[in-house]
Symmetry: none
Subunit: 204 residues, 4 copies
């Protein structure tokens, strides 16, 4: 509404991609940036620059920084792309999910993102609620897989699915902490071994 903006005309000529595509592209960027700089270290300008957009566009699509971060979290938790190939066996599915808790590199993108999100969620109710929901959903899902595995006799009958899921998830998270603190290949290998051994102990 100021005089200056009235006389200056837009100079942009870049073609626009589809809307959903833009959102997805931005979320990828955010996910990367958070794992690199943390949540409060993430600035909207940074996101805009990295995504090749303007800050206005980012806010146009996501409303505000918090929603952007939450959207990034949501999109980060998705079933692995190779999920279908495990569909036949609940125990294989469980193993696939649990091995997701093994870092893939000393600076694993996802788990660095996660630890930052977790820290932020201790002082933000909305983030916290999302985190809680995810956690509980994960636990229930693992419990169901264990139950199913028991049914098809992949796991032994004596297991308490809920209880085992809880312990397994806790161990997995504890090992994530360990891998973040000790970012060495051998620690990651150890984590994988420990988790594998735990799942194996579910078999007869």
């Amino acid at each position: 509404m100021s005089e200056t903006t009235l006389t200056i005309s837009a100079r942009r000529a870049r073609p626009r991609p589809g809307q959903e595509c833009t959102r997805h592209h931005v979320l990828e960027t955010v996910y990367d940036l958070i794992s690199e700089h943390g949540i409060e270290g993430l600035s909207m300008r940074q996101v805009a620059d990295a995504a090749g957009l303007s800050t206005g566009t980012i806010n146009y699509h996501f409303g505000n920084k918090q929603s952007l971060v939450i959207a990034a979290l949501e999109s980060a938790y998705e079933l692995p792309s190779d999920w279908e190939q495990y569909c036949g066996s609940p125990s294989a599915q469980l193993r696939r999910l649990v091995f997701g808790y093994v870092c893939r590199s000393p600076r694993d993108r996802f788990w660095r993102f996660w630890i930052n999100y977790l820290a932020a969620s201790t002082r933000n109710d909305e983030l916290s609620a999302h985190q809680r929901t995810r956690y509980e959903r994960q636990e229930r899902f693992w419990a169901r897989l264990i139950r199913d595995a028991v049914k098809v006799e992949e796991f032994k009958k004596s297991l308490d699915p809920q209880h085992e899921a809880e312990q397994l998830l806790s161990l997995a998270h504890g090992l994530v902490v360990r891998q973040l603190v000790l970012p060495y290949a051998e620690v990651r290998a150890e984590a994988r071994a420990l988790l594998g051994a735990r799942i194996d102990s579910f078999r007869e």
Copy 2:
């Protein structure tokens, strides 16, 4: 809080009579504020107000925010004050330490502080080194306690102290995550039970 600036060390290393007291008081305040608002959520004005000093004074004593935060992190880790009373029994000592991983309230000061420290350490080499040292020292200490407990026959001989310490520590950290995500009394009770059961399983 970027990595580059963290290498700047505090300017003054020559404590004077009245100074040390002021410094300690400020650090206590900072610890509290970090566990409440996170590291980047900590402002110098906040610190000054909470400590009943002026921003100028804070900077006079610590040079800058970086040094202040580092100093606070350093001073945050101390052995529990009731440590002596457990000195006779290694297993009692271990139990005492492990139960330190049970949150004392839905917003436990120490563990909220810890998660913020951990997140920050993923993008700061100096913090990361501190964290790693702490972690390894803790693990070695627990392993030694287990070894001692085996020696005095509180724990069974078949244990691999190093291996058990590692798993126990991972479980403990995983349960801390669980308690932070699910800040309910029952979850804390469960964590305590699980850790207790694990230690009990070390006995014959």
Copy 3:
């Protein structure tokens, strides 16, 4: 909303069949929104959403915000719809008009709109001119009604119509201010009583 840009007039003056309806609908919306949020508190997105159109469409029809606001201000002043039924008696007509200065609710749409218009007009020549014209027309009209009422002997002969109209209008506006500052039912009732009493004092 700076004076300089206000001189820009709407680009399109050639209404087409379906267009006029859209324009009218939008202007109604704008009037509502201004009385609620003020002129600078009005955003194009808000207008678009409230009117069920897109921002592009609003700008397509009105060129820019300035023109939109001006158009809304223009269309806001209309004679009351029940005007005809008072046509017989000048004093009844006057009473009808004067009672229009009594707010109908604590957040009367029209008078909230008016105060925003008035404030804006103090720093915009075009609005100011409109406002002045309206004011003078109103005063002349009231004076004429008083004169007519004197003629048909509803009011006493000794009145100076011009002078009385001026004072009555001033009192009415002063009471509007009062009602805006003190948005209570009793203040509105008092205003009505005061205005009624003043008109009654015109009778023999």
Copy 4:
């Protein structure tokens, strides 16, 4: 905390005036700017530039824009500097206050400020509360002056002080509206005459 700010050193060398002096200086500036551009037309940058300070300093002293505006309102309502000379006579005091409602120029600073504040207050509870308080205090004060004037027999006994104060204040505000809409010297003279006549009518 970023690297850039750490290396760039302050370049300022301007001496600092006393704190209360700074506040007062800023408020004068704000008052001027609001009467010129309205409340939403007032930007913190503008204030800072006009006052020869930085935006940070403005916020340091006033916290935020709203508090700044309110502070400006409060400081705008102060007893006239020549108040003492009227102290002997309540009616002279009243006359002095009432004539404050006559604009001193076609673009009277105070009343332009006031109308903007009034408009803004219709959509902001805090502004509104301040406005209401001021209004009621003013009315009570005028009523008291009238009552005192009756006591010392400057005004006739038959007056209802509360009622007359209310009407006088409304008339005064109505005339302010008139003067803002019709910014002519003769209208201001007329307003003065009308208000004077009304006060004169209080005498025996």
